[in-house]
């Protein structure tokens, strides 16, 4: 229900939301946070709203469950979620491992580069921060859209068909537009609270204007781990992840062979195109202090500011000086003199350096209490409320998928499942230098190496010197293995362990054993010895047609089935 339909007029040049009646818009992804309060039997969903057109063209409409309560949220939560519980690919290189002789440290040269027909039911109308809001229910799509158009919502003609299924299903709708005088820069996330603990994203609405492979990032703050219910669940094959490009000082180990996003996309495709990957499931404590810091000055300190400079300093100490709504709040309560604009001074220059325009700033009447009230409503209270939720509810899950418009046929639903292993987090890989064996010690550069993946697999690799001498990379060598992006695909639900549908783990172990058996870099060898590295692995014993060949065939077959992404 919470991915919105963003509407704008035909003459809008660009749009950044979920719907545009001209062409699909450039989107960086959809971000949704569900806060599930089972004790109260209610859910609050925080939805990021992005848009890049003209203010009069902005309209946003979303179907909702029952009659919702609306309030402002904060954009600060989404990057904080990414930082604390987003995907993380880390590689550890232990210097202390082994007994490498560092005295002959050498860095070989490298080539590595790295209106008014039948009226709908108007449940409520309100002003909320920069928005005018209305909650509606209609018997027909025309009833709904006619009312909205008469009320100043600039809707494209193609809208009716998109809304029809939701109207037929009897949904309520929340519609937003910018209040008079508000600008696009005033947009901020919305929090919608509704009765019940069900979680769903009305992705069918998004199909009309979404771009291919649109990332959909979902966070759930609750009592337990959240899982996709209507979609499948996939786990990534760590071997496919780029553990190498972060090792900037070892340029010859390889760069990004495939970005995390592309591996994620391939994994989703290998899991039917309708699946989510869990990035993190763990304590919500990772969000402690990330949305609002305890001990920050309260709003009274801001209201007591004598000058705009004092107010600015208080805002900085509150940690909100970079919040998006601040620019429009300043513009309202400390309007930049037109004379400065005529001199070429931009708002960024003026609001970024009060000291530079001391006389002009001093000449503007500044109502600190009103300014503080606006900051409280639009920034501080949303942050405090959300931080309180993170500090109260124990468990955070972050999930992601990628969907193209043609795949937006089934609304994703989510459930809490306390029966599953609760903690999910991708650990680091360790790149070991095997500096000694039973016969000799190696120098760091000539020591065979090994990558230990977080799922327990280990792949032997040659020394850094060998890689350099052969003008190849560790990641390049490993690419000769079958390229599957999922380890498992599961059908999970609100209880029980779920059903594993696809499990490649045994095959992965077989391929690893073959790799390590046939690429004996760990054998004592001269520093410049060159074990054979073949582009196509030789057959594994015990397999009729050669397991790796079969595995490669399976990998190719899987990739052939999934043709959407390259």
């Amino acid at each position: 229900m919470w991915i919105a339909l963003l509407l704008l007029s035909p003459d809008a040049l660009a749009c950044g939301g979920f719907f545009c009646n001209t062409t699909p818009v450039a989107q960086t992804g959809e971000d949704v946070l569900f806060v599930v309060d089972e004790a109260r039997g209610e859910t609050t969903v925080h939805v990021k709203i992005t848009y890049a057109g003209e203010a009069p063209d902005f309209a946003w409409i979303v179907p909702v469950a029952g009659i919702p309560e609306l309030r402002l949220s904060t954009a600060a939560v989404f990057p904080a979620l990414t930082a604390a519980a987003g995907p993380s690919v880390r590689t550890v290189v232990p210097w202390e491992a082994g007994s490498c002789d560092m005295s002959n440290w050498e860095r070989p040269s490298t080539n590595g580069d790295y209106l008014s027909p039948p009226a709908p039911q108007v449940v409520s109308q309100d002003e909320l921060g920069p928005y005018e809001t209305v909650v509606l229910r209609a018997q027909s799509t025309a009833e709904l859209t006619d009312w909205l158009r008469v009320s100043g919502y600039d809707l494209p003609p193609s809208l009716d068909a998109v809304l029809a299924p939701y109207v037929a299903e009897g949904s309520y709708f929340v519609a937003l537009k910018l209040a008079s005088g508000a600008s696009v820069g005033d947009l901020q996330p919305l929090a919608v609270r509704y009765a019940g603990t069900g979680m769903s994203i009305p992705i069918r609405l998004t199909a009309l204007a979404a771009t291919p492979d649109l990332p959909v990032r979902v966070a759930v703050l609750a009592q337990a781990r959240a899982v996709p219910d209507s979609y499948l669940h996939a786990t990534l094959d760590p071997l496919r992840l780029d553990w190498w490009s972060q090792l900037t000082t070892w340029t010859y180990v390889g760069g990004a062979t495939a970005s995390f996003a592309s591996v994620l996309g391939q994994a989703i495709d290998e899991a039917s195109g309708h699946a989510f990957v869990t990035h993190y499931s763990g304590r919500a404590g990772v969000m402690s202090g990330r949305v609002w810091s305890a001990g920050a000055p309260d709003i009274d300190a801001l209201a007591a500011a004598q000058t705009p400079l004092e107010a600015r300093d208080v805002l900085q100490s509150m940690g909100v000086s970079a919040d998006a709504p601040l620019a429009s709040i300043w513009a309202t309560y400390l309007p930049m003199p037109e004379s400065l604009a005529l001199e070429g001074v931009t708002p960024q220059m003026f609001y970024g350096c009060f000291e530079c325009f001391e006389a002009e700033v001093a000449a503007i009447p500044f109502d600190a209490p009103a300014f503080a009230a606006a900051v409280d409503e639009r920034i501080v209270t949303p942050r405090q409320q959300l931080q309180e939720a993170f500090d109260t509810l124990p468990w955070l899950t972050t999930l992601e998928t990628q969907l193209s418009p043609e795949e937006m046929t089934v609304d994703p639903t989510f459930a809490l499942n306390p029966d599953l292993p609760q903690e999910v987090e991708l650990g680091p890989a360790v790149w070991q230098h095997l500096c000694a064996d039973d016969r000799r010690d190696f120098s760091w550069m000539h020591a065979p190496t090994r990558i230990d993946l977080p799922d327990g697999r280990s792949y032997d690799l040659p020394s850094e010197a060998w890689l350099s001498e052969h003008d190849t990379t560790a990641s390049g060598l490993l690419e000769t293995l079958p390229q599957r992006s999922v380890s498992t695909v599961e059908d999970l639900g609100a209880d029980g362990p779920g059903v594993v549908l696809i499990d490649h783990r045994a095959l992965q172990l077989e391929e690893m054993a073959w790799w390590n058996d046939t690429h004996p870099w760990r054998e004592p060898q001269a520093p410049t010895s060159t074990p054979s590295v073949t582009a196509e692995p030789a057959p594994v014993s015990g397999c009729d047609s050669g397991a790796p060949t079969g595995a490669l065939g399976l990998g190719v077959a899987l990739l052939a089935l999934r043709r959407r992404r390259g």
Binding site: A65, S171, L232, V410, G493
Partner: protein, 161 residues
């Protein structure tokens, strides 16, 4: 992945779609909260209000066994009606990508996301205790000759599954 909306076709209470079908392909449904094989004539089928509100729905699992062409995309069509009155209650048509399970009970089966049966225009009170004759059909997008269907007469039940 090709995902297409297919046009409305067929009617509620239709005769078996493919009475002479060979053992494969075949189709199975799982009711909400239940397992494949649980949805049989005379069983109940949960229906409720979806999280996003609106008309009642029944999320069902669908899987099939059959040739590899099913892995190239399938059109799913579900038609449901009250067997006594003939009143249509459900019509769903969408296309999905399926993947082949390789472990457990489902090994070899083609599986994908849930299919949501939506009872547009109905209320839960209207549906409670009502019989539903449901036909679900899966057709391989790459070979329309590969088609399998499942039919069942079940009783709609809004109580928790």
């Amino acid at each position: 992945m090709r995902v297409l909306l297919i046009g409305a076709a067929g009617c509620a209470g239709a005769a078996p779609l493919d009475p002479g079908a060979p053992p494969e392909p075949w189709l199975e449904l799982a009711p909400p909260g239940g397992a494949f094989g649980d949805l049989v004539d005379g069983s109940s089928l949960w229906c409720g209000i979806p999280p996003q509100g609106g008309a009642p729905y029944s999320p069902i699992g669908v899987r099939a066994r059959g040739p590899d062409v099913l892995g190239e995309g399938v059109a799913i069509e579900a038609i449901g009606a009250d067997p006594d009155s003939g009143e249509p209650l459900v019509y769903v048509a969408l296309a999905l990508a399926w993947v082949q399970a390789n472990v457990g009970d489902a090994a070899g089966a083609w599986v994908g996301p849930e299919v949501h049966l939506r009872y547009d225009g109905q209320s839960l009170d209207d549906l409670a205790g009502r019989e539903l004759f449901l036909v679900v059909r899966a057709t391989a997008l790459a070979d329309p000759a590969v088609v399998t269907s499942f039919e069942v007469t079940t009783t709609l039940d809004p109580s928790e599954p």
